[in-house]
Symmetry: C2
Subunit: 889 residues, 2 copies
């Protein structure tokens, strides 16, 4: 016989906290609390398996369920000395849903079930309080009517409003027992009219109606949508909890409240909560009366803390707080009721908390010995560190939303609107805080992005130019805010009828993608000592290295400051955007002969050498992976006549020739075009120059510092082994030359990005000539999905919203598809070279879920933008600890 | 002890024909001929393993090689009764290279080796012919000097020219023994001067010099390049053949000749060849004297056939011909020498032949019982069928090359140049033959392409729009002729200084990519009964089905005519290019609301229904795979103001709105953009309309003909299972509606293209909701390589030329990369559904090498353009037979 019902309380506890899958979170914790001796009113849980069986069997219950419920109900009756449906001493119960995870859209709670026209009188007599009994009855009809019978809740509110009007009172509390009696009559006739039959009077009928409503709500559209969006399988089901009522509304020696065992905002180890005297359930959060604090120490003038009002209950609650934290080893979110000075526990669960609180609690609990270091590391959500490292909007500050885009780079920023990079720079030079607003950004905007407090674009996704560069710089950015239209000519932006002109102030929240009109107050980040402590612990427990993607000395220094152990991706094309250099770059691209290109690269060589020298100096003793040129050709091509003319002059040719060449070079699908090593093979002089700059720069640093850097030269967009073979030979030739010229040598390695499916599929072959692989998962995601980042904005958001894809694959690696390709490449690569060094340098290197995947695949390191390095360190530690758990499990 | 040397002839044959890998083709066949009793001068073969050992051991020979050569040489001496280096009866030998496959760039032949200042006198006496001896000696110095010692061959020719001038004669034949003696003296001093030491006089030194030259030439740059281009591993090595000389130049009872056992041009079963009296080796092909025919029956007036000149030798040769064909079961290419009326065989190998000859010989040999049907099927190169199905240029016709592009669609075409589709159409309507010349073509040019005899583009690759459409139509096309520049304004094209104006005539050879100025004579194709016979045999032995890619009734009928067993790809977007419809298509695309789109698709519905009705009628009883809309959005977007205005009017909006919308719709990487099922999911009304057109069209045909068609509805660009789930549900809903409306039903299936790596990697999941897969290897190649067909022209040709990729992956499937992805998808798909139907519908479906791959992976069918259907039928048969052989091997 299957056990469908588990009792708890009154010394008979059949469940435990770890039976959450069977009993739901609420039921499991009620049983657990009861079993450790806390005062829990007795009750029982109908398991999630009943829910599953119900749906598998055309919405019929298992045959033996009724008997089990009856038995469990009888146990409650016996424990509390009352009888369900009894006219003089009626047992009342609450019915609550409880799935494995809390889920909006589900039926929540029905209180006071068991009341009817007869039992209400019994309750009144037993409690010696008519008003309490009739108030409880009307509450029951109201809750049951709306959530079980589907009557619109406004219909109930209308009746109360009417009653108050008639009685000439304003507050519900001023209504008397007779008033409530009248309200109950009106409720009953209204419900009968709505549902076409009388309000159910038989308590057992009420009970099964409420149970059926919980199970029925598991499949309602809102719950279905929520489950689809959160990948919750429908067959998890929900449990139903039936529990003897205790009353916080039976008089002034009664109360109900919620509390947290520590401050959920700051994490401080203090008792935090609020309560209401003579109240029930939802009154505390409904906001009709003002809740009071628990402790004297935090009570303001005029407030009556529980500590004073009910000192014994308070003392007991303090004890419960200590017991629960000790037992659950985590901060708890508790619901309680006091009935005639007696404390009852109605719920406990791990409490939600801010990032700062999470960090502080984890570190302090470890210091207190409540948890160990590893557990502390597991406690903090890596993504939440962003909140700690960037300014954030003051949650209490008022604000006017203008539009919403993508949360492309975290942090808040506030400044006056400018529409061009040049203006951003000149205004910032005068000391103004500016927000650079563009339809989209291009490499020519870099100086403006740097000068701005934040960046707003109306087009492009999470890996658009603006997003990637902003994250790299640590600038807040909202990207792809399609609701905003930008009019450069009139220097104005508009959204939803609101208009903002250049020079007017807006505020961005890069963590949510929100854009606000005017200035919103901000909170500056304060990095506590706890942060450093947790990072140290994380470093101790992680297996993977953490590097940064950086190509400027500023980025490299930021990366070091945040604990990067080297550079995983130095994108040399980013070094070419500088206005001083871009002409030479264009000359190199536009020239249609080797001599022209050689002249251009010769001009670039000293810049590149100096770039590398600086970075090698900062990263002394650490590995630096340098990706040779992989130009987004279209971003470098000159467009304006002036730009074209400059290039023409530099090449000694005319405007038309250059324009013609630029047209020839334009590509139908630049992402799939003549780029990466394809360009290096067509025009070897470019990679030769870069290799020379790397070797000369590295040797200079070795000479200056006595510490030879270890360059890892990375060839982009390899799809066939021979491509790497050829480019490798080019670089080795330059190395030999430079070493001969200088009479010194240097260790270096040569590897490749794995960013094309073909590279992954033939990784065993490519590994024969590669010293390392670095997974370029941005491009790999594009090719595996056949999906351009630049164009995905037209449908990808809808895909994620509709659950066609679980999440944006450019943000979090698509484990099933792209991840599988990475896994194939890792396995094939290591089948050729057992110790092949593997890393990841796409945007995914800073995403915790993706980092967990990297740990599973056994990568050696992840590399991410400098500001994500702490996130990655923590996520890597969690991944390692999680993997260790999996292994021992 | 390794056996390095294999003797043949004089009754001691150590080799066989099947030892080609060890002895090379020439050596193996010499041994084989000798062992079946044909008159082969005795000799020996130094194995290919010596070559490999030579290179592995720093260009040193195996220690025991010399002894084995000496032994084998002694065997020759004994057999012919002459001694190598003997002053009175000198043995002379030839030294020839012989790899597994014949390979240009290798040292070829040294004849008369063993001659020196002393043995030449002995030869003269023995042969009683001073002139013969000195002519032979000078030939030896000349060959040895140029191929072994590296003296430029012009230096020798100069000396002969000088001698003839001095002697006052014109022909070499007029030079006497004394003249040749003088030439030998001059040769020797010139060589001594060139190489800094005397011409080698010691025969053994000569022999090892020649052997070394053969092995050395295996690694010369030209041979290396050839091997790289033809994927011949360097470790195959070459063999060296040393053979007793026989002389065709010893007098008028001597001769030398080459012949084919059947006519290599027509395939006719007749003895075809030519010979020269009193000549040696290369004289026959050198063209100094006019060779004579072999048989009386083909001799013209004044010619002296071998049959008359040397009747006994001729009779013997006829016998040899019969023996060789019977033995080798194939047409042989033979070299022979007659020395004093005695016939000697110097070489046999399978003869090269034209496509027509190949076909005729295969069928006739099978009829004769020489080979069986299967062997006949294996004999004909499927790619050569193109020659039989299209007009070709008369090989003998004179021509002036203008430029060379890609052989994009086979056949020859000749006509006057026009530069626009409209003009092509209007000129063609007047009866002119025109060649449409465009930089590239777009869907708007379809009518002009149809009207033209051939198409020439200066941009784009083998799978550019022009190429794909031309192949589909069976129009000859040369694509991507980058050497030609087109000036639309001045209506002129130019290449290499040559200028062709509109209205002037050019000729295209779509089989070679050549473009000629003016008109070149053509040969019309004649499809013989042999063709039908071979196709029948092929059909009997193939496992895979062959379908066609077709979307018009004309294409569908062509496909049926060529034996297609259904349609594997009906691209519905191609149905939308029609000028009558394109406005509605644009309206559908440009409209930014559902109502606008619904209005547009409602206009398209009757067209689509009629399209499908026609195709279903032609394909009655056969499967038709219809791909729902996968628009290349940019090809449909209106550009010109007039087009924009038309759309604006149809949508009841203004020009600017439409222009703005067109800009919004433009994509950075259209190939990776909002296309395929992504569009079907964003705008369900489009697929709904198409599904309705399919079902209504099919039901109409079922009613008319009583034969219900079997539509296979294919969803393009699926990357995630849910995409197929959603679109499948849309189609099933429409099916239910149409079936309810008409009161009838129809069998249909729903499947997907596998054209994204993600689809392949998650094929097990996708198969759960797919009835079939069709591999769209064009797009799959693009995404697996990260390579856009439209942009690949900038570097792909160089990649293929430099051997970075073995061949153009858009022409022949990249087995290592794309093929592996196909294999993964096939295996994963069938792991979910054992009998999942798998096909291929990319351009690769018509490529024999790719078809062989499809057989290996176990696809159910291939689909290709209608004109490639016979090629595919034959290739599929060969693949099946080849696979069967592999299995039994």
């Amino acid at each position: 016989m299957t056990k469908w019902v588990y009792s708890f309380g009154a010394g008979h506890n059949e469940g435990r906290a770890d039976m959450r899958n069977l009993l739901g979170g609420k039921g499991a914790n009620l049983a657990e609390m009861a079993s450790i001796g806390l005062p829990v009113p007795p009750g029982f849980t109908i398991t999630t398996e009943v829910c599953t069986a119900f749906y598998e069997n055309h919405r019929n219950y298992p045959a033996d369920l009724k008997d089990q419920v009856d038995t469990a109900l009888a146990r409650i009756e016996k424990a509390v000395g009352l009888t369900f449906g009894d006219k003089t001493h009626p047992l009342l119960v609450s019915v609550r849903s409880g799935a494995r995870v809390s889920m909006p859209g589900m039926m929540d709670t029905v209180l006071n079930l068991g009341l009817n026209d007869e039992t209400v009188e019994g309750l009144a007599k037993a409690a010696k309080d008519e008003r309490f009994a009739w108030d409880s009855y009307r509450r029951f009809i109201q809750m049951y009517g709306s959530v079980v019978l589907g009557v619109d809740h406004h219909r109930f509110e209308e009746i109360i409003e009417h009653a108050k009007l008639e009685a000439g009172v304003i507050e519900d509390t001023a209504l008397t027992a007779d008033h409530w009696r009248g309200v109950v009559d009106s409720y009953k006739s209204m419900v009968a009219q709505e549902i076409g039959k009388p309000f159910p009077q038989v308590p057992h009928e009420q009970l099964w109606g409420a149970i059926g409503a919980v199970f029925g709500s598991w499949m309602n559209p809102r719950a279905n949508t929520y489950r689809r969006l959160h990948d919750i399988p429908a067959n998890w089901g929900t449990a139903v909890n039936v529990q003897a009522m205790v009353f916080g509304n039976m008089g002034n020696d009664c109360a109900t409240g919620v509390c947290f065992t520590r401050d959920p905002s700051t994490g401080e180890n203090m008792f935090y909560g609020e309560y209401l005297v003579n109240a029930q359930g939802e009154d505390v959060v409904a906001g009709i009366r003002t809740p009071q604090p628990l402790s004297k120490s935090v009570a303001k003038a005029g407030e009556v803390p529980l500590e004073e009002a009910m000192p014994n209950a308070y003392k007991e609650l303090l004890q419960v707080r200590a017991t629960l934290e000790e037992h659950y080893k985590d901060m708890q979110d508790i619901e309680f009721t006091v009935q005639q000075h007696k404390l009852y526990m109605l719920q406990t669960r791990n409490g939600k908390r801010t990032a700062a609180a999470s960090l502080r609690m984890a570190v302090e609990m470890a210091h207190e010995g409540l948890i160990d270091e590893k557990e502390a590391v597991m406690r903090v959500n890596p993504a939440s560190l962003d909140q700690l490292l960037h300014p954030m909007l003051d949650p209490k500050a008022p604000r006017t939303l203008l539009a919403k885009g993508l949360p492309a780079s975290p942090g808040a920023a506030c400044g006056m609107v400018v529409f061009s990079a040049d203006e951003a720079e000149s205004r910032a030079a005068k000391g103004d805080a500016v927000i650079l607003v563009r339809v989209e950004t291009s490499p020519e905007d870099i100086h403006g992005m740097h000068a701005a407090q934040g960046i707003l674009t109306t087009r492009g996704g999470m890996t658009s130019h603006a997003a990637v560069v902003a994250r790299g710089m640590g600038r807040p950015c909202v990207a792809g805010a399609g609701g905003i239209s930008v009019d450069y000519n009139n220097q104005v932006l508009s959204a939803g009828g609101k208009v903002v002109r250049a020079g007017e102030v807006i505020t961005l929240d890069g963590a949510t993608g929100e854009v606000f009109v005017g200035s919103v107050a901000m909170i500056e980040p304060t990095v506590s000592g706890d942060f450093g402590t947790l990072m140290d612990w994380a470093d101790k427990h992680r297996r993977m290295g953490v590097r940064a993607n950086a190509e400027t000395p500023v980025d490299a220094e930021t990366a070091r400051k945040f604990g990067a152990e080297g550079i995983g991706l130095c994108r040399t094309e980013h070094m070419f955007f500088d206005p001083e250099r871009i002409l030479a770059v264009r000359q190199m691209i536009i020239s249609n002969n080797e001599a022209g290109r050689r002249a251009a690269v010769a001009r670039l060589l000293p810049y590149q050498r100096e770039d590398f020298r600086k970075i090698f100096t900062i990263m002394a003793g650490l590995p630096v992976t340098i990706r040779l040129l992989d130009p987004p050709l279209h971003e470098f091509l000159p467009h304006a006549d002036q730009e074209l003319q400059e290039v023409a002059t530099s090449l000694g040719t005319d405007l038309n020739t250059v324009r013609q060449r630029a047209i020839e070079l334009a590509e139908a699908n630049p992402m799939l075009g003549h780029r990466g090593c394809r360009l290096g093979i067509s025009y070897p002089e470019i990679y030769e120059m870069q290799a020379r700059a790397i070797f000369e720069g590295a040797l200079a640093v070795a000479k200056e510092t006595g510490k030879a850097p270890h360059p890892e030269i990375m060839i982009p967009l390899v799809g066939a082994k021979k491509e790497l073979e050829i480019t490798r030979a080019q670089i080795e030739k330059v190395a030999t030359e430079v070493f001969a010229e200088t009479g010194t040598k240097l260790e270096y390695t040569i590897g490749t990005m794995i960013e094309l499916p073909r590279a992954a599929i033939t990784a065993d072959k490519i590994a024969e000539v590669a010293d390392f692989f670095s997974f370029g998962t941005n491009d790999l995601t594009q090719t595996v999905f056949g999906l351009s980042r630049d164009d995905a904005g037209k449908f990808l958001p809808h895909y994620v919203e509709a659950g066609i894809l679980p999440k944006d694959p450019f943000v979090s690696i698509d484990v099933e598809g792209v991840g599988e390709v990475v896994r194939i490449a890792a396995e094939k690569g290591r089948s050729t070279k057992k110790d092949l060094k593997l890393g990841i340098c796409g945007e995914h290197g800073g995403d915790p879920a993706s980092i967990a995947f990297c740990e599973q695949v056994g990568l050696n390191y992840v590399s991410c933008s400098p500001f994500r390095v702490p996130v990655a360190r923590l996520a890597a530690a969690q991944a390692a600890l999680g993997a260790a758990t999996d292994r021992t499990a």
